[in-house]
Symmetry: C3
Subunit: 140 residues, 3 copies
């Protein structure tokens, strides 16, 4: 049984879902754990994680359209606006989705379902450099 830490850095260019499934798989391959779990953790509060359908891009588009309507940028009761009017909505969208996910690893493979992909969900308009921690625990 061992623990292996790694990290991904991702440059985002505006709001939306960025798939990182292959990057996580590559980290698992490299560390050699065959049997255990992978924890994905995003070190930010203005973006988040989501395991989402990765077959049809219109599903991601509609998801983003829903969040744009649910958490409007111009809510008149927001007081935390010093970092731009997409900042407070970004924290709320993060709170409604996930900061950490944990996925089983069997025979060296992350056990996602057929249509599942791991995504970083960016909630800010400007370009950002995002850091995602990958912790793999298990047996070689």
């Amino acid at each position: 049984m061992r623990v292996h830490h790694d990290q991904l850095e991702l440059r985002t260019k505006g709001k939306g879902l960025y798939e990182i499934t292959d990057d996580v798989h590559a980290k698992i391959d490299r560390c050699g754990v065959r049997n255990g779990t992978v924890t994905v953790f995003v070190q930010h509060t203005s973006c988040s994680l989501l395991i989402m359908e990765n077959a049809d891009p219109t599903a991601c588009d509609d998801l983003e359209a829903f969040f744009d309507r649910l958490v409007p940028e111009d809510a008149d009761y927001f007081t935390h606006g010093s970092e731009g009017n997409d900042d407070m909505p970004s924290h709320i969208r993060m709170a409604l989705t996930r900061t950490s996910e944990i996925v089983p690893i069997v025979d060296g493979k992350m056990q996602l379902g057929t249509w599942q992909g791991v995504f970083l969900f960016e909630h800010r308009r400007a370009t950002h450099r995002r850091k995602i921690l990958i912790t793999i625990m298990g047996e070689m």
Copy 2:
């Protein structure tokens, strides 16, 4: 320290919460881990997981009524509709709840609070066969 993988298959019959607490407990009993964690992971993007009150069924009914209102099936801005008008809402309800949960195991028992139960949250109307992975990590 060891890792034990198992799975549950569940046949759902329409939208709603399906309790799986006893099934998860049975998997823990069978593998013999006394001290560690259990990870529950659902391999789909049109249903999700939730740890919810399991004492009064009206709490689950009201939760479902809330989600029906929050994510309406007839939103005119959805473009991903080829699999039926409950498909896109199912991905959004999944995104708003959980794909993975991790619960401590002490003395062979999952440490849920008095009123907590583990549920599969089905978001599709038609019958579906759902696969849930159970990973138990810890000491015998």
Copy 3:
């Protein structure tokens, strides 16, 4: 590789976010694990967990204001009301946020980002005693 269980008890005084980052750090320090993960699990269905910005308190205020609007206490379709009109909304706010979180530990430190803090999110108005389980897994 070892497993260490601990718990926090927190007395909440009404709705809002209560930071527990330092308490979780203290548990990690005490158990001596240098390399692994910490799982935080809340044993209730009327409060939840959130990893949120801890620098500017107005961000937390706005988040709470958003949830007050998203899940109103006087929804006329709620039937589960015997424990007060803040009870059913508390379960829904819990469902929309998190029950468990898992954070990597490297060199004995929880790997939160610069602005991240771990919070208990209380959804009830009355005073409550809340129990949070901390499971630390890894190498000394």
